[in-house]
């Protein structure tokens, strides 16, 4: 094994849903309105006077078995030695198939460019020894980035998936999440930007 798989740690217990990571990502990647490569989704449930809500900030999970790499017709996706999954927008033909295929909706179609795009783990910053911009931006220090094994050791309570998230068996996501008790309660809806999805 040449390099350890890199990944994100998302502390769902800490996250207050402030969206700083999300906008930092938009700024770093110069995204117009529409694509949100890192998205803070709010999971709501319960009933008055005992509702619950928690936020999940998620970008690309740089999966061990990335379905985008497999399905992209033009091979625009590559998995680097350090495990980061990179999308080469110059190769992309905008077929949107990756946006259908990714369970986490990490690749998103950018109408302004006619191409897909997704979180690259800020590999340019990572290569310079810096953290991805979302991690630098997190005001609750709820996001971390690094070799997945180390993140797991640092946060022994962290898990690979939550009940509200897609089945991790599909892609083996390189992500660890610190859960909070509410993740086991039945959610009523997921708020994603201006979209609300009943579940």
């Amino acid at each position: 094994m040449a390099n350890k798989q890199l990944g994100f740690f998302i502390n769902v217990e800490r996250c207050i849903g402030c969206h700083a990571c999300e906008v930092a990502c938009k700024d770093k990647n110069d995204l117009e309105v529409g694509p949100r490569w890192r998205r803070v989704r709010i999971v709501e449930g319960g009933a008055y006077p005992k509702p619950f809500a928690y936020s999940i900030s998620m970008a690309c999970n740089h999966c061990k078995d990335p379905i985008c790499v497999k399905v992209c017709p033009v091979g625009a996706y590559t998995k680097r030695e350090d495990g980061l999954v990179i999308h080469d927008q110059s190769r992309c033909i905008g077929c949107r198939y990756c946006t259908f295929a990714c369970p986490y909706a990490a690749p998103q179609f950018d109408e302004s460019k006619g191409k897909a795009g997704k979180c690259s783990g800020c590999h340019d910053l990572v290569d310079k020894g810096q953290e991805p911009i979302c991690v630098q931006a997190c005001i609750l220090r709820a996001l971390e980035f690094g070799p997945l094994e180390e993140l797991q050791q640092k946060h022994p309570g962290a898990v690979q998936s939550l009940p509200v998230l897609p089945d991790p068996k599909v892609t083996d996501p390189s992500v660890r999440l610190q859960p909070r008790p509410e993740v086991n309660s039945r959610p009523a809806r997921i708020v994603d930007g201006h979209r609300t999805r009943q579940v």
């Binding site: 207050i16 402030c18 969206h19 999300e22 906008v23 700024d27 509702p51 809500a53 630098q136 931006a137």
Partner: protein, 758 residues
């Protein structure tokens, strides 16, 4: 953005402004300051500078801007030091990250303009700066000569705040008009008027503690306090998380299940707006009745406690303020009130921390005095990890003692800011000391942000108001009413010093002033020249000379040149600041007439205002469920702050708009009885106005209460017409401008509405 130097030049050229050689460059002493990347101004090379966010959110954070060829290419965070839980980096929020979209917003005002249509229609024609300065000076001369300086109203908003030089808030405007001979100034603020007047009657001043002290807190009552969505000071939310991780138990008392409640609360206590004092009184009754109070503290440090006890126990008015009494008023179960009271009295240190929302109500003065009284009752004042229940918008930070711009002279008159529409309309005939004939707004979107927007429109359109000058960056709802509209540059386009929360930051001019925009300082310099007091205004100093002089008064800032290079100097955040520690631990007197915490105030008693009792009491709000008006408008309407805006600032930034919808929060019970479903467009209305916006049907708000975050830019169906339907969801179309009885402050959260499907 991806604006290349070439397209940027073409763009500014097209607009007729030689933006890259704007005079602001010359004034600020020449170009960019070299820092880490020693590449300033060099074509094709990227440089990075720190600067600070100077907005009125309750936090002051460090920004970093990467610049290439005179254009900001991306933002960065505070990375000048390693992140440390005790002294964390001063990281910015989503709005800080969105700055490029604000600086390069398509709706930036580009050149001076003069009104051509009816006031408020938003029709303007472009004029030159010379013409603008001449007109500005001529109007001021005319109004001053005809009516005296008091006829000029200085509407200084918080668009730019806490900066050494370019603060609009309580700085540039007042300084300018005082030098010109007076002017009518504003006092208090829309945020904190009632507590700013009332709390010092109890505690003596508004001293605050620092957020890291909460790490010692074992029980917190976050009362109408929403640090997860409002800044409350950089890193406050992070220190609170550290408190939680150390086992602090948290109650969140709020009609909404805010992000704060979702993130921190062990128990959410929804209570009806405006009934805070009823609940606090009931808690006090439990504590007194069960003899749980810190009697030693009460006797040693407080004044007039017996009088308050008499009110609480019912000795005074025959009504014991029991939890059962409070339950129907507050909507909170008596047992829950009892439980909270017992825990608050038993666990030490415990912090009752209050936001400003509860005091923006009809009798906001009462809650501003009741909280500290309750904190005194449990002996939680002046101790590490306790809190004096100050209603606050920003925790305390260490200070470097830097002086602010000198403010010579006096205003002709000064009135609470929120009273301007009434003042404009009535003047002396309404008992005010002056008639207003001209107004100058700097950093102020007051049409949008004050209560009763439709009344404010009539105030701005009244014929007595001859001239309205607006300094602005964008075409805001207030700007549309200007007679003269002047484009102001952004904080990246001028030099300054800011005090971030825990650091002094040198703010270099990072990019040239865009288009023809100028700073308020430059504009005032030009107008002062025409009015003959330029020398007094500038003191014969350049902007940089002023900054250098002020920086020299700081205990922290090194010599000027070093500071310019270093950019950030920091104070230690980990050293706890505990308000009233000297009083409680060292026996110093409280800064009140009695030297004690005045639960009962003689001075208030002497004022003899029936709506301002000497001890804090529960008085039912005018627009509340008990009001006959509730038959027609049965829902209590509150307008909390949104994380997407700082008041109305950033509303025009698409990156923050898209993270969450702007909608009316309504409980499913209230929605169902009106046939409203999530995302339906609805009407919200009362006698003051009507708003059309989508409904956000959620279990996260208590039945009987609806909430629409303040700050969305009023978008009338018929521009300039009072009473028009607003399509943007501007809360103040519905709120009232009725002042509180003692402070004369805003009571915007006391508001009844009806909601219906459109």
């Amino acid at each position: 953005m991806g604006v290349s130097r070439r397209t940027f030049l073409a763009w500014s050229g097209l607009l007729g402004g030689a933006a890259l050689v704007a005079p602001s460059l010359g004034l600020s002493g020449g170009g960019l300051v070299e820092t880490a990347a020693e590449a300033a101004g060099e074509e094709g090379k990227e440089a990075a500078y720190y600067t600070a966010c100077a907005r009125n959110c309750g936090s002051k954070c460090i920004l970093k801007a990467y610049v290439k060829d005179g254009v900001i290419t991306r933002m960065g965070s505070d990375d000048a030091v390693a992140d440390d839980p005790n002294n964390p980096q001063l990281r910015m929020c989503l709005r800080g990250w969105s700055y490029r979209k604000r600086v390069y917003a398509p709706d930036r005002l580009k050149y001076p303009m003069k009104r051509v249509g009816k006031r408020g229609e938003g029709k303007f024609e472009r004029i030159s700066w010379d013409e603008a300065f001449d007109l500005y000076a001529q109007w001021l001369k005319e109004v001053k000569a005809q009516f005296g300086p008091g006829a000029i109203y200085c509407m200084d908003g918080s668009g730019s705040i806490d900066l050494a030089l370019h603060s609009t808030w309580r700085q540039l405007g007042p300084r300018f008009f005082r030098m010109y001979g007076g002017g009518t100034e504003q006092t208090l603020s829309y945020s904190s008027g009632a507590r700013t007047v009332a709390t010092p009657y109890t505690l003596g001043n508004l001293a605050n503690s620092s957020a890291p002290t909460f790490r010692q807190t074992k029980l917190m009552l976050m009362w109408g306090w929403n640090p997860a969505e409002n800044g409350m000071g950089t890193n406050t939310a992070y220190f609170l998380r550290q408190a939680k991780e150390r086992g602090c138990k948290v109650y969140v008392i709020d009609p909404r299940f805010t992000d704060t409640a979702a993130s921190y609360a062990d128990v959410w206590v929804p209570l009806k707006p405006g009934t805070d004092v009823a609940m606090m009184s009931a808690m006090a009754w439990v504590i007194i009745n069960e003899k749980l109070q810190d009697q030693g503290f009460v006797e040693k440090y407080t004044e007039g406690w017996q009088e308050w006890f008499d009110y609480i126990t019912g000795k005074e008015d025959g009504q014991p303020k029991t939890p059962e009494w409070a339950e129907p008023i507050t909507g909170v179960q008596a047992n829950l009130i009892r439980q909270m009271a017992r825990e608050y009295a038993a666990v030490k240190p415990a912090a009752l921390v209050m936001g400003l929302g509860p005091q923006r109500t009809a009798y906001g003065e009462q809650v501003a005095r009741c909280g500290p009284s309750l904190a005194a009752l449990t002996g939680n004042i002046g101790i590490l990890g306790g809190y004096h229940a100050l209603m606050n918008w920003m925790m305390a930070f260490p200070s470097d003692g830097m002086k602010t711009l000198p403010m010579p002279g006096k205003p002709t008159a000064a009135l609470p800011c929120n009273q301007w529409p009434d003042l404009f309309l009535k003047g002396k005939s309404g008992g005010y000391p002056v008639d207003i004939h001209m107004a100058v707004a700097t950093g102020a979107n007051y049409l949008n942000q004050g209560g009763n927007l439709n009344k404010a429109i009539t105030a701005l359109q009244n014929e007595g108001l001859k001239y309205f000058v607006v300094h602005e960056q964008f075409m805001t709802p207030t700007a549309k009413f200007a007679d003269l509209l002047l484009p102001i540059n952004s904080l990246f386009e001028r030099m300054d010093i800011a005090h971030a929360n825990g650091a002094a930051v040198f703010m270099p001019q990072i990019i040239p002033s865009l288009y023809e925009s100028k700073s308020d300082w430059e504009i005032m310099t030009q107008v002062a020249r025409r009015l003959g007091f330029e020398q007094e205004w500038t003191g014969g100093k350049t902007e940089e000379a002023w900054l250098k002089e002020l920086a020299a008064t700081s205990k922290l800032i090194p010599d000027w040149e070093t500071f310019k290079k270093q950019q950030i100097v920091r104070l230690d955040l980990a050293t706890p600041i505990v308000a009233f520690k000297e009083q409680v631990q060292d026996g110093k007197p409280f800064p009140t007439p009695s030297g004690k915490i005045e639960i009962s105030s003689k001075r208030i008693k002497e004022a003899n205002n029936p709506k301002m009792p000497a001890v804090p009491k529960y008085i039912a709000d005018w627009e509340s469920p008990g009001d006959p008006l509730a038959q027609k408008y049965p829902l209590q309407f509150i307008a909390p702050h949104s994380k997407q805006r700082v008041h109305s600032a950033f509303h025009n930034v698409p990156w923050v708009r898209e993270v969450e919808p702007h909608a009316l929060w309504i409980n499913p019970v209230d929605a169902a009885s009106r046939g409203i479903q999530n995302d339906d467009t609805i009407r919200i209305f009362n006698d003051r106005g009507e708003v059309h916006i989508i409904a956000w049907v959620t279990e996260r708000i208590m039945p009987g209460v609806v909430a629409l975050t303040e700050g969305a830019w009023y978008d009338p169906e018929e521009p300039g017409k009072p009473g028009s339907i607003d399509r943007a969801g501007c809360a103040n179309v519905l709120t009232s401008d009725r002042p509180t009885p003692f402070a004369g402050a805003t009571s915007q959260h006391t508001c009844l509405v009806q909601v219906a499907r459109r």
